[in-house]
């Protein structure tokens, strides 16, 4: 299983959240509250508009998070990866 930071993962592919690097409780709650938790499948849509931000699709809804926050999320490519 090849682990990547969320901001480094391939665009438009389903990836699974593996774990979080040490982060504050507030940040963990904020990520949980948009549906990012261990085992969750997400799609990184783009990081081309703004350098500091990445755009992800969680449960069919598009969210924007900072690259700094995304750096703390480790993901791996899902087995049933599809475009």
């Amino acid at each position: 299983m090849h682990l990547l930071n969320l901001d480094m993962c391939p665009i438009n592919k389903v990836v699974t959240v593996h774990s979080f690097l040490p982060i504050t409780e507030d940040l963990k709650h904020a990520l949980n509250n948009i549906g990012i938790y261990e085992g969750k499948k997400i799609i990184v849509k783009a990081n081309k508009y703004q350098n500091q931000l990445i755009f992800i699709i969680i449960n069919g809804v598009e969210y924007v998070i900072r690259t700094r926050e995304a750096n703390s999320i480790l993901v791996y490519e899902a087995q049933d990866s599809k475009k």
Binding site: D26, A30, N33, G39, Q50, N51, N59, G60, V61, R66
Partner: protein, 758 residues
């Protein structure tokens, strides 16, 4: 006004994910007009009202949550209502656009045993993907209704179950791993009786729900719970499986609800060429910022330009209000034209009673156009994109781009802006964003800016002055934010997560409704506060300690013997270092504007005997004084209501720090402007301007010293790689505090010197 909940009434809660249209639905079924917008987490506090045609049924609109594990203060409020309040049903609003996300909350509500009805909103936006009500109702065993709150479709049917009292609570126990099931069975007997399903409480406690953990602590069960977790060897994988089980159920349900073709259509909205192009434009780091500045400039141009909003305002002021005022005063004089008392009555009614409120009411077209255009921005979804683009700049001052939505809202009124900061992801962000809001030029301040810029500059460039002052207020707020976030919350970081909402066309009826409500609020505030304040000022100006009424104080010299002159005396001396002590009436207009900022404009008319009197007075003084007045007025103290809300939302400590620093910074800013634009002219007149100049030079030198110390330490640390006892932060803090202390003492000293010399 807070709605009183009667004991015998039926109470229902409206609950759902952010931006699914809960408040829009709530506004449709009640007479309330809560703020709505095309952005997530617009509602930040609960609002209760009865149904339009049934006073016995109450509905409470709650802030949106994605799941029942609260983080921000707005989410805490939602969870508190679910857990602690009495209600007869929970109506879960989901969006047909984002069922996959919204059903997570539906499962949690069903698991908690409180789900009573599901309302699928925004069906007008997914025509090709009609929602299969049958499957949903089979899964959750509750009433399902599909509506469009925005287009008023099927609302009556959605309200019927509430009126017929046919809603019932449904409990759905999901099945988890054997280990979790054993744990739940073992701990359930310990829990006190509660309307919430004990399974839900245990599962939430495992997921670190702060509210539930606190509940267990209150019942002295937290330690037992932790021991049970250890005994049953519940690990992170088991906790993860709670959310994943629900995800799997949702995936299965979605597959039943939609055909593969419909699913593809739904997914297409994230990859359609149009949405990608629009996002490319509005989120591009080179194009977006100039574009947003142009949009804001356009809004101010439309509102204030003399041939657009300015023309409407002039017509309304002259042909409607001006004519009405003349008619009233003429009729009073006509009763007995030879009596001086009749003239006094005409002056009292014309200037004291209706003059001030009419001056303020004449600016109503500006307020309505400004509010209408900002509402259109909110409805389209541009504010969310603005907050994304500006996040980088905001992160530099320690808060997230989400704060920009609050600040733009503050251009209408500071109060909702402060209330909206409840949606922040951390305490730091909430407090700092709230502290910034009072510095934003609200519509009341914009009225005064418009009024003054028409007199001081010209009607042609009034819009530009307003735009510059509003833009400057945002920059000034960011500077203050940098100061607060470094001084008060250095250790905490800001977090930015935001839903990229779909671009939507603005709904004309919503915009018009918002404008009508704003007009109602504006007229109400003008009548209640401005009228009273003006009346007091008028009485104090027309009377004096010699027990005499002055018919025309500006001409007969009564103005210098009035009560108001004596009240203004101490404040006048405090304002000398910023030039405003030149005329005591400036201090009165600033003091009187404390209840509501608009009062400054109406009072200027009374104090200077009309706009022409003010024009003559201000033109006789250096331009620096007018600019100092504008600078000081922009930031000196927020209005009374804003202060009350600020104290309520962030506590006394931070509120007074905010007000104190605002006063200090605005004083220094006004002094700076006065020294640059007016001070040099004053040398030849009085020879007193060395005082503000000395203060400024000291301020600049100490600031420079502060930065030299900071960077010196930084450089030294880098070279030596040793640990210093005084951190960079401490040095910064000490230098800035010394700076502030020096400034305050110099201001006090200069005020004293001036008052003694005068």
């Amino acid at each position: 006004m807070k709605h009183k909940i009667q004991k015998n009434n039926q109470n229902y809660l409206l609950l759902g994910s952010p931006n699914v249209g809960k408040s829009t639905f709530f506004n449709r079924i009640t007479w309330k007009t809560e703020k709505v917008g095309n952005a997530d987490r617009v509602t930040t506090f609960a609002s209760t009202s009865h149904l339009r045609n049934n006073k016995l049924i109450n509905v409470t609109d709650l802030p949106g949550v994605i799941n029942l594990n609260p983080n921000g203060d707005d989410e805490q409020e939602t969870f508190r209502h679910i857990f602690d309040c009495c209600y007869d049903g929970v109506i879960n609003i989901v969006s047909a656009n984002s069922l996959q996300r919204d059903l997570y909350l539906t499962y949690e509500l069903a698991e908690a045993g409180v789900l009573s009805m599901i309302v699928v909103n925004m069906i007008d936006e997914v025509k090709s993907c009609s929602v299969n009500k049958l499957f949903l109702s089979k899964e959750f065993k509750v009433i399902i209704e599909c509506i469009s709150a925005k287009k008023n479709l099927n609302i009556k049917n959605a309200v019927l179950p509430l009126v017929n009292h046919s809603l019932k609570f449904t409990t759905k126990n999901l099945t988890y791993s054997d280990k979790l099931e054993q744990f739940i069975s073992a701990f359930t007997p310990f829990l006190p009786a509660n309307k919430i399903n004990p399974r839900f409480i245990i599962l939430q406690a495992l997921q670190d729900n702060r509210y539930i953990l606190n509940y267990l602590k209150q019942h002295a069960l937290l330690e037992t719970f932790k021991q049970f977790v250890k005994q049953h060897q519940i690990n992170a994988t088991d906790v993860q499986s709670i959310a994943l089980t629900k995800d799997q159920l949702i995936t299965k349900l979605i597959d039943k609800l939609y055909t593969p073709e419909q699913l593809r259509t739904q997914q297409m909205r994230h990859t359609s060429k149009f949405s990608n192009f629009m996002n490319y434009i509005f989120l591009n780091k080179w194009i977006a910022i100039p574009l947003f500045i142009l949009i804001m400039a356009g809004i101010y141009f439309l509102t204030f330009y003399e041939y657009l909003g300015g023309w409407i305002q002039a017509q309304f002021a002259d042909n409607a209000l001006g004519a009405l005022q003349t008619l009233i005063t003429d009729n009073i004089v006509a009763l007995n034209p030879n009596s001086s008392l009749q003239h006094w009555w005409a002056a009292f009614v014309g200037d004291g009673l209706i003059g001030g409120p009419f001056t303020i009411l004449s600016f109503l077209p500006w307020v309505l156009i400004l509010v209408g255009l900002i509402t259109i921005l909110e409805q389209i979804g541009l504010l969310t994109r603005m907050s994304i683009v500006f996040d980088n700049a905001f992160s530099k001052i320690g808060i997230s781009g989400r704060a920009l939505i609050n600040l733009i809202t503050g251009l209408g009124c500071n109060v909702p802006s402060i209330m909206m900061s409840r949606n922040a992801n951390s305490v730091k962000e909430r407090v700092v964003t709230s502290m910034l809001s009072p510095f934003i030029s609200c519509s009341a301040r914009v009225i005064v800016f418009g009024f003054l810029s028409q007199i001081l500059v010209s009607t042609e460039y009034s819009w530009l002055v307003n735009l510059a002052l509003s833009g400057f207020s945002i920059i000034f707020a960011m500077f203050i934010g940098y100061f607060f976030s470094n001084l008060l919350f250095r250790k905490s970081i800001s977090i930015f997560t935001i839903e990229l909402v779909k671009l939507r066309s603005p709904h004309v009826m919503f915009v018009l409704k918002k404008m009508v409500l704003e007009a109602y609020d504006f007229v109400k505030r003008t009548i209640l506060i401005v009228l009273v304040a003006n009346f007091i000022v008028w009485i104090l100006l027309y009377t004096g300690p010699t027990s005499q009424f002055y018919i025309n104080p500006s001409i007969d010299g009564g103005i210098d013997r009035s009560f108001l002159r004596y009240i203004a005396w101490p404040f006048q001396y405090l304002l000398y270092p910023i030039g405003l002590g030149q005329d005591w009436r400036f201090s009165v207009s600033l003091l009187a504007a404390f209840p509501a900022k608009e009062i400054a404009a109406s009072n200027i008319e009374i104090l200077f005997g009309g706009i022409s009197g003010f024009q003559t007075a201000i033109q006789a003084l250096p331009i620096g004084i007018s600019l100092a007045y504008l600078m000081f007025f922009s930031f000196y103290v927020p209005c009374m209501v804003t202060i009350v809300i600020l104290i309520k939302e962030i506590g006394r400590k931070y509120a007074w720090i905010d007000i104190g620093y605002g006063l200090l910074f605005s004083y220094l800013l006004a002094m700076f402007v006065y020294a640059i634009f007016g001070g040099f002219e004053m040398i030849s007149l009085q020879g007193l301007n060395w005082i503000p100049l000395t203060v400024l030079v000291s301020l600049l030198l100490t600031t420079l010293l502060g930065f030299v110390v900071i960077h010196g330490i930084k450089l030294y640390k880098w070279k030596q790689a040793t640990v210093w006892k005084i951190s960079q932060y401490k040095a910064y803090q000490i230098s800035m505090l010394t700076n502030a202390g020096l400034c305050v003492s110099l201001i006090i000293a200069s005020s004293l010197c001036l008052s003694l010399s005068v």
